[in-house]
Homo-oligomer: 151 residues x 2
């Protein structure tokens, strides 16, 4: 599927505020309801537009600690990797996980209520899968957060 400038403007508006009405989006992109609706429908079908969610205030809900966890492992067999992956998927405090190129094998972003909760998470993880080396970076302050792609 190909995306033109109008599609990009629509995506940009949706990222800014997905609760807008079609009329508002249409006005913002300089078109009218129906074409905008058709484009959104097509992009949804193509999987370019995925789920619609809300941004919550993590601090207000008691999630006051964010850690980035750098993981090195000596195990690289398929079985180990599968178990590791499942462990991450199953733990809701893991907000993001990437397999990396180079020296460090994995990075996790972990959101928890406090440092104690992080330790509980850490103990549970290393008891499930063997890892060679773990470094935790504690966030003092979130300077920027956005999910918006620059279109």
């Amino acid at each position: 599927m190909k995306i033109d400038a109008t599609d990009r403007k629509i995506l940009s508006e949706l990222q800014r505020d997905a609760a807008q009405s079609l009329d508002e989006i249409a006005k913002a992109v300089g078109s009218s309801k129906t074409p905008v609706w058709n484009r959104i429908r097509k992009m949804r079908e193509a999987g370019i537009i995925g789920a619609q969610t809300v941004v919550l205030d993590a601090e207000a809900l008691g999630f006051e600690a964010t850690f980035f966890v750098l993981i090195r492992t000596s195990e690289h067999e398929a079985d180990w990797q599968r178990r590791f992956l499942h462990a991450l998927q199953a733990r809701p405090e893991v907000q993001e996980a990437h397999r990396l190129a180079g020296d460090i094998d994995y990075i996790l972003k972990v959101r928890v209520k406090n440092a104690r909760a992080y330790d509980a998470f850490y103990q549970a993880l290393i008891s499930e899968v063997k890892v060679h080396n773990v470094t935790a970076l504690l966030s003092m302050e979130q300077i920027k957060e956005t999910t918006a792609l620059p279109l």
Copy 2:
């Protein structure tokens, strides 16, 4: 503002799918339209519920490279910090930025079209603000991604 179990269920539903109708949410949390609507309104006013956005398929839109950037700096004056912060805010490829405790001072999550675009970003950044040491971790594969908090 205090949050009870019903509020948490509502938030959970909204995180799962913010496009649901009030009736659907009400059914899911075992209540009816109006109370759900009032609770959502109050949580919005309190800032617990923030913006509503869509999740886009970054790969399909040509953003194929994600880097985590670890930054050490020798400068810790207020002025340097302010300039650094502004530089990050101004760059749309920076999706996330944290000030850290310990050895490493900052971590960034940077999303770009390709490695070349990362290099352009990197050159631009270090020409704006002086940093002591930069390590870039390239993501090979995003194993997990969610913004949902475990309520």
